[in-house]
């Protein structure tokens, strides 16, 4: 037999056994141990990832239930949020509101100037400059109206000087910042 010396002569026999052992370990390692270990590692990582997703989803479901409760409690007043910061152009509505208010107060809106300001995150800002001829009580009425207006606005400055003609005693320059929602 051709393999006889490798199995009978002691030094060769030792090497042969070692070589055969290593060959079997390598073959077994490549075709059995490696795929099994990789599959185990993959599945363990998948389980860990999906468990973390499951925890996040459970928390989200809880938060959704809480949110639903809060929103149902406040539903009658939620229209105020949309009314205060509509996602359409707010300037025509503002001008209409202020014109009506000034007319009802018996004052005179002599000039109005609108400048588009910068955009800050989701908010678009308009700078509105108005010139109103009125009396002092009428001016306080207009400012109160601006404070109470649902549109999100901010009276940035008011300057008053005596009025020269007509029944009005003062000329007021009112500067207002008006905000519009531009998100989504």
């Amino acid at each position: 037999m051709i393999f006889s010396p490798y199995l009978r002569v002691t030094p060769k026999k030792g090497y042969t056994l070692l070589i055969m052992t290593l060959v079997s370990m390598i073959v077994f390692g490549v075709f059995a141990i490696r795929p099994s270990l990789v599959t185990v590692a993959t599945l363990k990582k998948q389980v860990a990832d999906l468990e973390s997703v499951n925890e996040s989803m459970k928390l989200k479901v809880q938060n959704l239930a809480t949110a639903q409760t809060i929103y149902l409690e406040n539903k009658p007043h939620l229209y105020l949020v949309d009314a205060s910061m509509p996602d359409e152009n707010v300037v025509p509505q503002f001008i209409q509101d202020i014109s009506t208010k000034v007319a009802l107060a018996g004052s005179s809106l002599e000039a109005i100037k609108v400048t588009k300001g910068g955009k800050n995150e989701d908010l678009l800002e308009y700078q509105i400059s108005m010139s109103v001829a009125c009396t002092y009580p009428q001016l306080t009425g207009i400012l109160t109206f601006l404070e109470k207006s649902l549109l999100t606005s901010n009276v940035t400055s008011v300057s008053v000087r005596p009025h020269q003609k007509g029944a009005y005693s003062i000329q007021a320059e009112i500067n207002v910042s008006l905000y519009q929602y531009e998100g989504n």
């Binding site: 090497y15 390598i26 490696r34 990582k45 996040s56 949020v81 205060s84 649902l150």
Partner: protein, 61 residues
């Protein structure tokens, strides 16, 4: 001759061991969640600013 084969097989076994270790590390460090699922699992803040709503109620003409 037999010694050379033995050495080659020893180094082959070492290489195989390193391969297995790196593949296990790779399998353990890979993320198995898709971007869609990650977007779905993003936390949701259920709070509503009641203070703002109260302020708006006061502004209501």
């Amino acid at each position: 001759m037999s010694r050379d084969i033995f050495l080659i097989l020893v180094f082959t076994l070492l290489t195989l061991t390193a391969w297995v270790v790196f593949e296990i590390y790779h399998a353990g460090s890979k993320l198995y969640i898709t971007q869609d699922v990650r977007d779905l699992a993003r936390p949701l803040d259920p709070t509503l600013s009641i203070k703002t709503l109260e302020a708006l109620k006061k502004r209501e003409p």
